[in-house]
């Protein structure tokens, strides 16, 4: 899932301050935590209250889109709603915001979220973590299902670097050493000889920007 975090409300209030009529568009798609209708409504209430203290009277309409990054779905959900709006405040990831901006070139489309990474949510701990860099050359089969490109701070393909202390990365002691995790996983599976294979440097040309499905 695409992990996003809400921008500070001050920043959002600044970005919407030139407009009065604003459509807030949630996204029910993969963005996590979910940014659907509830978030759109909550945000409209918060911004309305914040606007009052700043002497602004915003007029919000809150709605949601099944998947904002799908131009067909975004168009069919939003076209009937944008009448009268001067700006669209989007709760989607960067891809969703750009899709909507392209659909309505005459409107200001503003992001309410900062988009961070492709990751997972540990619901119990309330933590979201990055898992995939979208490198275009997946090697998880050989790595015991743990991605060193994403999770090793140095992106090493032939680790470990030797800098880890107590299983934690020397770049960031809060972070697990990905290579130690890979070693332990492969050891558990009895596949440690896989580490003897030499892996050539990553081919950055495989990181595509356009594909045909």
């Amino acid at each position: 899932m695409i992990v996003t975090a809400q921008k500070p409300l001050d920043e959002i209030l600044d970005s919407i301050s030139p407009y009065s009529n604003i459509l807030i568009a949630g996204c029910d798609g993969c963005t996590q935590p979910p940014r659907g209708l509830r978030e759109a409504k909550t945000l409209s209430q918060l911004l309305e209250l914040g606007g009052r203290l700043r002497g602004k009277n915003f007029l919000f309409k809150a709605t949601t889109v099944v998947k904002q990054c799908d131009s067909f779905l975004a168009a069919s959900a939003l076209k009937p709603q944008v009448d009268g709006a001067a700006a669209v405040l989007s709760l989607a990831c960067g891809a969703g915001v750009q899709t909507v901006a392209e659909l309505f070139p005459g409107l200001s489309v503003l992001p309410a979220q900062n988009t961070h990474f492709i990751g997972v949510e540990d619901r119990e701990g309330g933590i979201l973590e990055e898992r995939c860099t979208a490198c275009g050359d997946c090697i998880l089969a050989r790595m015991g299902g743990i991605c060193p490109v994403t999770r090793c701070a140095k992106g090493l393909l032939n680790g470990a670097c030797g800098g880890a202390r107590n299983g934690k990365c020397e770049m960031d002691p809060a972070k697990d050493c990905a290579w130690e995790l890979i070693f332990l996983r492969l050891e558990k599976q009895g596949n440690l000889d896989r580490l003897k294979e030499f892996r050539p440097a990553r081919n950055y040309q495989l990181r595509a920007w356009r594909l045909t499905p």
Partner: protein
């Protein structure tokens, strides 16, 4: 303290001990004395109504105040039918009408019908009340575990007695009820929040991503409703629109500075004739888990100056620590309110009915804070 055991009246029969759902009553093996451990007590009142020696004093809804209420309410409602309901499953008046077929009645809702003693039933009949209807929670829905079965047995025994006295068969009608989640599956976006947060495993998410509810497992805490990002869920009797209307109504009858309290109905037991000051009004919820960030914001938008949430401490929560989740949600919202300049307007407190003065204290402190903020604003 809300409950007291008077040693000088106690006959040490131990009926209270055998009925207490929370093992809060112990017998000292050496002295034979019956002892109350108030920290475990949830003030359900089952021991109070069962004690043959009347050795237990209770602050909330003791027999005298219930009887006083009945006398007053009989005039007020002009009816000779009494409906005693457990708060946990008490529906609105139209639903009561549908369940029992009475349109005019004296409503009495208490935390657990198991706390109503024989004395109250008898006095009610002596007063001229002709019909008594009892609405208890379904047995697996009872917040006090044994309250609902105790009510069942008591009504059964009482009906036998009344029959002998010539009041006919089943003079008291007993029905059971519960209030559960309602899902609009067309709105479901398949995020899985309900399945993750439900403490009872009542929600499931199957591919292609629509929530399914097993209503028999639902205990009506409302946590899934508060967590649903698509607003696809409602809790019976506490529907979003119903609470919204209540917020508008209460705020319109209040004086500034206005404080709206959302309280868990198991954390605070309001007195039967309880009146707040004109600055304060309260909305009772089935559990703080049903506190909705949308409603808190709505209250502030509609003119509340402060919002107070009264929850049970996590260890007392009748709903598998759902109050802890609620605390988390409220904290996140407070953070957001700080960002827009609404500091100190939202307060979350944990209170238990066993210490009756604690809620009043929290309310008083919060009122003072809001008054200060309000008078500063007025001066500007």
């Amino acid at each position: 303290m809300a409950l007291k055991l008077n040693e000088q009246y106690c006959s040490r029969c131990s009926i209270c001990r055998s009925l207490c759902p929370f093992e809060a009553i112990k017998k000292d093996s050496e002295t034979g004395k019956v002892l109350l451990e108030i920290e475990k007590c949830q003030v359900c009142g089952i021991c109070y109504s069962a004690c043959p020696a009347k050795a237990i004093d209770i602050i909330y809804y003791d027999s005298d105040s219930l009887i006083n209420y009945l006398e007053r309410a009989r005039q007020e409602y002009g009816s000779e039918a009494l409906v005693i309901m457990c708060k946990g499953s008490a529906p609105d008046f139209t639903e009561v009408e549908r369940l029992f077929g009475v349109s005019k009645f004296i409503p009495l809702s208490v935390p657990c019908v198991g706390r109503i003693s024989d004395e109250v039933f008898l006095k009610a009949i002596a007063m001229g009340i002709r019909e008594i209807y009892v609405l208890a929670c379904d047995e697996n829905y009872c917040r006090f575990h044994r309250g609902s079965p105790v009510t069942g047995r008591r009504v059964l025994a009482f009906n036998l007695l009344l029959e002998q006295l010539g009041y006919g068969r089943e003079a008291i009608t007993l029905k059971r009820h519960s209030l559960r989640v309602k899902a609009d599956r067309d709105l479901c976006i398949g995020c899985g929040n309900c399945a993750f947060y439900c403490p009872y495993g009542a929600a499931k998410l199957d591919s292609p991503g629509r929530a399914n509810f097993d209503l028999n497992s639902c205990r009506g805490c409302g946590l899934c409703v508060a967590m649903c990002p698509a607003l696809a869920l409602e809790l019976e009797n506490w529907e979003r629109e119903h609470i919204s209307n209540l917020i508008s109504k209460l705020l319109s009858e209040m004086k500034s500075p206005r404080i709206l309290v959302f309280r868990c109905q198991w954390a605070v037991f309001p007195p039967l004739d309880g009146e707040f000051s004109p600055n304060v009004r309260a909305i009772d919820l089935p559990c703080t888990a049903r506190v909705d960030t949308l409603h808190i914001l709505e209250a502030l938008q509609k003119g509340a100056d402060g919002v107070l949430i009264a929850a049970c401490p996590e260890e007392d929560c009748k709903q598998e620590k759902a109050s802890g989740r609620a605390q988390h949600l409220v904290a996140a919202l407070r953070e957001k309110l700080n960002q827009i300049g609404f500091q100190d307007r939202l307060h979350f407190c944990s209170v238990a009915p066993r210490y009756d003065e604690r809620f009043d204290k929290e309310l008083q402190q919060f009122s003072q804070r809001i008054k200060d903020i309000y008078s500063k604003g007025e001066r500007k």
